[in-house]
Amino acid sequence: MFPIHIYVGMYFASIYMRCMQEVSSIKTIDAGEITEAVARLCMEANFYLGQDVTDAFKKTLGDEISPTGKEILKQLILNAGIAAENKVPMCQDTGVAVTFLELGQDVQIVGGGLYDAVNEGVRKGYTEGYLRKSLVEHPLLRKNTGDNTPAVIHTKIVPGDSLKITVAPKGGGSENMSAIKMLKPSEGVEGIKKFVMETVKAAGPNPCPPIVVGVGIGGTFEKCALLAKEALLRKLGSLSPVPDIAELEKELLSGINRLGIGPQGLGGKTTALAVHVEIYPCHIASLPVAVNLNCHAARHKEAVI
């Protein structure tokens, strides 16, 4: 109906339009913006106790049967108030800056490297916030790096055009009491329960109870440990969307709170504020389980750019 060159012209025009659309859907984020966000999150996570933790304290305070335990819970609430008011860290151990990035695949970082930007943010946040520098450069030579870098960074590429940053400063006392075990599939849920309970019992007063327990089940050796860490980022007391796992979380929390360890390990009912379990498919031969313990503070703050 039309001369051929009209069709050819329309074809190229449509390709041009599509390219323009794709170009316009790429969002650029400046590295400097990432640095600022990370610096702010490092400080906020160390100064301000999460509302979910405060709520959990108030709830457990009513349930606690030990007078010493009650006194400790009250002191932790008081401490959170002092830290927030004076903008000082609630705990001197301001931790390793564990940083989770969810990078939209339609994002382009400009003005510097992504990880450099994160580390610069850690350097800035820990310096300007008067946070403790707790990292040593070589694990055996143990010289302090002086600025709390490097961060431990976990990155996921996700659909979309935004960058979600979560900074979760992790203290050494509770991290040291964490454990991982490759169970046999035949050991099943009973094997998992036994290992989690044993880990919490062996930790006793060391991880500064009341603790938050992150459990990873499945995946591979390293995936399982990461699941346990990610479990610590959930809102305290939120249940797994998987029904049998939610049941397991409730059962573990109730079992842990019968161990008698209590606040600071000085006896009582409040040993854990929450147990969060994350799962992932695994090999036919494997049943990996990781238990990542966190102190009561369960520090993490997030931002979306």
């Binding site: 049967i65 007078p67 002092i82 050494g172 008698g260």
Partner: protein, 193 residues
């Protein structure tokens, strides 16, 4: 159950001071505490091995296992709560044999340390881990005394007033953690709370 009775003590501590303490007692400490944790302990032991003097006279003194956060302008000291004491267990009996009287930290001590506490008449206290912003308000004066190159792990000479601690291990060989956890686990097993 702990005896809720406050005792006030000043550092340095005497044999008599510590012999009268019992697990579970609440004590308000005033005077000087020396902060020291992993790296500082290693250095103290190295000095002893070389036959050199320690940066402070350890007789009767109290070590606070802590690595404070940096001091903000207007503060005496940054946040300074206790760290896990068990990591210092390997160094502790030697320091106790030289007259160290008190230790403040969190978490359990080894059987060797508990034995040495009894043998050399000393005491292990705890204070609330994670309550660092509150605890540091009990400090009135602070200076770096030794090993400044260690940053947060340097030895600080810390003057405190009414610093709240609880006796965990006493000269009778008692262990508050064992006792309280046993009591409450039995209670929680037997009753339907």
């Amino acid at each position: 159950m702990p005896q809720i009775r406050l005792i006030r003590l000043s550092t340095p501590l005497t044999d008599e001071n510590v012999e009268n303490l019992r697990i579970g007692q609440r004590v308000l400490l005033s005077g000087v505490l020396y902060t020291a944790r992993d790296a500082a302990h290693k250095k103290l032991i190295e000095l002893l091995d070389r036959g050199e003097p320690l940066p402070f006279d350890i007789k009767g003194q109290t070590i606070y296992y802590a690595g404070p956060s940096p001091t903000k302008p207007g503060q005496v000291i940054g946040s300074a709560g206790p760290t896990t004491a068990g990591r210092m267990d390997i160094y502790t009996p030697r320091l106790l044999s030289l007259g160290l009287k008190g230790m403040i930290g969190k978490g359990k001590r080894s059987p060797e340390v508990i034995k040495a506490i009894k043998q050399f008449k000393s005491v292990y206290f705890t204070t609330v881990g994670g309550a660092a912003a509150y605890i540091s308000q009990k400090s009135v004066k602070c200076r770096v005394l030794a090993f400044p190159e260690l940053g947060p792990e340097a030895i600080h000479e810390l003057y405190v007033e009414n610093f709240p601690v609880i006796v965990v291990n006493d000269t009778l060989g008692g262990d508050l953690y064992d006792e309280e956890i046993r009591t409450y686990s039995t209670l929680l097993k037997s009753q339907s709370y």
